[in-house]
């Protein structure tokens, strides 16, 4: 590389050493980040893979937690429930979140109103996940005298996702060079065209990252669902009724005294991680294909 060739002549040993140390430190940091991951994945595989079987994914959990020799069932309703609840939560929070981020960057900018919105969104990132569930519990369950429902769990999750989507989208949108916008405007394109045809596509890959992180977070959170979605064992497509979900199933199973039920919890955890991984992969492929040249 050219810099190395020239560096040979001009580089003091001190600078070279610092460079080497810094590079090693960065590499070391990366390795440090990956070690817990490998350990956790190994642990998950070790404890969860044994539970995987075709019937594991296609049968609902039964209430049978005692009979050690008879069937405790699989996790079908939990898988479907998670997909449904998280899909609804994403459908709410992603468009809304990106919309707010676009507004913040394009229209609100530094006005007092925009800063107020930013401020409160930031504060929302620090709220414990359980409080979102309790808020929905107070407002939509106790407050209206109605019972648990899957969509109420979705609302709690979308509250959780919203600040992550808004904040990360805002960071990405701010990185779109002003020059791009200016040239489009100079060519006479209306504002909305600039946003939809220039700004959003440019920001899309970055926003996909933020969105995926929000979805992954939501899919793995137990606390917001505990008091909202209502646990049940049966598969359901009715978001207006009780709905099972993987994190809640895991949480309940892992505290059981029966070993086979605990194993089911680990199998479910492995399933959840795999599902999120697959989602990541699909979304990245889609984003790559839509990236403007």
């Amino acid at each position: 590389m050219s810099d190395d060739r020239f560096a040979q002549f001009t580089l003091s040993p001190g600078r070279r050493r610092r460079d080497r140390i810094a590079r090693s430190a960065i590499l070391a940091g990366t390795v440090i980040a990956l070690i817990p991951l490998l350990l956790i994945v190994y642990y998950l595989l070790q404890k969860g893979l044994g539970s995987w079987s075709p019937s594991f994914f296609t049968t609902d959990p039964t209430g049978n937690t005692f009979f050690k020799h008879s069937s405790i069932g699989g996790i079908q309703s939990a898988i479907l429930g998670t997909i449904e609840i998280v899909a609804l939560a994403s459908a709410i929070s992603i468009p809304a979140g990106i919309g707010v981020a676009v507004w913040l960057v394009e229209y609100g900018r530094n006005s007092w109103f925009a800063n107020a919105v930013r401020f409160f969104v930031d504060v929302l990132t620090g709220v414990p996940s359980i409080i979102f569930g309790l808020f929905i519990y107070i407002v939509l369950i106790v407050g209206t005298g109605s019972t648990y429902a899957g969509y109420k769990g979705s609302f709690a999750l979308s509250l959780l996702m919203l600040p992550v989507v808004i904040r990360s989208a805002e960071v990405i949108l701010l990185l779109v060079p002003g020059a791009l916008r200016e040239s489009a405007l100079a060519l006479g394109a209306p504002r909305w065209r600039v946003i939809f045809s220039i700004v959003l596509p440019t920001a899309l890959p970055g926003m996909v990252t933020g969105v995926l992180l929000a979805i992954a977070r939501a899919a793995g959170e137990t606390a917001p669902l505990l008091f909202t979605a209502g646990a049940t064992f049966k598969t359901s497509t009715n978001l207006g009724g009780f709905m099972n979900s993987l994190p809640v199933q895991i949480y309940n199973d892992v505290t059981s005294p029966t070993t086979s039920v605990v194993n089911r919890a680990w199998g479910a955890a492995l399933t959840l991680v795999t599902m999120i991984l697959v989602l990541n992969l699909i979304a990245r492929l889609v984003a790559k294909r839509s990236r403007l040249a």
């Binding site: 229209y107 996940s129 990252t209």
Partner: protein, 338 residues
């Protein structure tokens, strides 16, 4: 639709008919309405929390509740100080360990790693985000914490002259391991945002530095990091938010003892964990106290974010000449557009 406004003659943007301006207006007002709705929702959220927390504040006073050191459920006295300290210790630890490591991974991925390794490493880091929080807690308490205990004991003995680290009993669930797990949990988000920001550094900045003879590290230090400072801090704030509010993993790992956090390797409690542990059985004043704890966390996040904003603004002002904060949509758009 509209003809381009160029020397070719047609109408310029400024002369567009009102009807043609409609989509712009609709978008602007629609998005403004959306932002207002979200703001209203958050404020309403805050108000409901305050309503639920009021009985506790009425009984102990706002400062009394927040800074009293006694959280005693059976005696029905609720002071949040031990919880606050626990939250602060674990979150600070999470940031101290997590942010540098996350930024290191971001630098590695964007600047240093060979092209073929890039995608797998990125995927691996993002895999960390896919793990549910309850799994982190369980892996922590069943695998990590017992393994760390001998080392912690050794450290506590060797460094017993340092007040916070040494001297106390080393328990398996403690502040340290809770903070460590939190650091792992915030890694993916800080790394992802830092990565995104770093990948948009204009190539000419980097090449200019290299062309002047900078080493790789010097280039990163001079051209990449200053440009990205605001974005990295933004990512760190998201990570901090996660750390402050993480409920279940901390509840499993911190030992759940409402003590005043005198020892890093001892048990403690956090604002979020206490809510998770006690809400199921809480009634009346206890319940209100738990909501009040949530509010304290709310306010804490507020303060921390306010400080962070000041830092970001200052970084933008004194940062690299073309940092993102200064290339926000210029005034022209405002004048020519809606």
């Amino acid at each position: 639709m509209e003809a381009a406004s160029l020397p070719g003659g047609e109408r310029s943007t400024l002369e567009r008919s009102p009807l043609a301006r409609l989509p712009d207006r609709a978008l602007k007002y629609g998005l403004t309405l959306l932002a207002a709705l979200i703001l209203a929702l958050i404020v309403y959220f805050f108000i409901r929390l305050v309503g639920e927390a009021r009985p506790a504040f009425a009984k102990f006073g706002v400062f009394g509740f927040t800074f009293d050191k006694d959280w005693n459920v059976s005696a029905e006295t609720f002071g949040a100080l031990p919880l606050l300290i626990g939250t602060l210790i674990t979150s600070a630890l999470a940031l101290l360990v997590g942010v540098p490591v996350a930024v290191a991974t971001a630098i590695y991925i964007t600047e240093l790693c060979p092209g073929r390794v890039r995608a797998p490493v990125t995927a691996l880091i993002e895999l960390l985000a896919a793990v549910p929080s309850v799994v982190y807690g369980l892996w922590g308490i069943f695998f990590l914490a017992p393994k760390l205990q001998p080392a912690e004991q050794w450290l506590a003995n060797r460094l017993s002259f340092i007040p916070f680290i040494g001297g106390g009993a080393v328990t398996i669930p403690n502040y340290f391991v809770a903070g460590l797990i939190l650091a792992i949990m915030i890694l993916p988000i800080v790394s992802a945002i830092s990565r995104e920001v770093m990948s948009t550094v204009p190539a000419d900045h980097k090449e200019a530095a290299l062309g002047l003879g900078a080493t790789r590290w010097e280039m990163i230090r001079m051209a990449v990091l200053p440009y990205c400072r605001g974005g990295i801090i933004g990512g760190a704030m998201l990570g901090l938010g996660r750390a402050l509010g993480e409920t279940i993993a901390v509840a499993i790992l911190i030992g759940d003892a409402p003590q005043l956090g005198k020892h890093l390797f001892g048990q403690g409690y956090s604002l979020a964990a206490v809510i998770a542990n006690e809400f199921g059985e809480a009634q009346g004043l206890h319940r209100s106290a738990l909501f009040a704890a949530g509010l304290v966390l709310f306010v804490l996040t507020l303060i921390v974010n306010a400080i962070a904003r000041v830092v970001v603004v200052r970084a933008a002002r004194t940062g690299a000449p073309n940092s993102p904060a200064q290339s926000a949509p210029p005034a022209i758009a405002g004048a020519a557009g809606v």
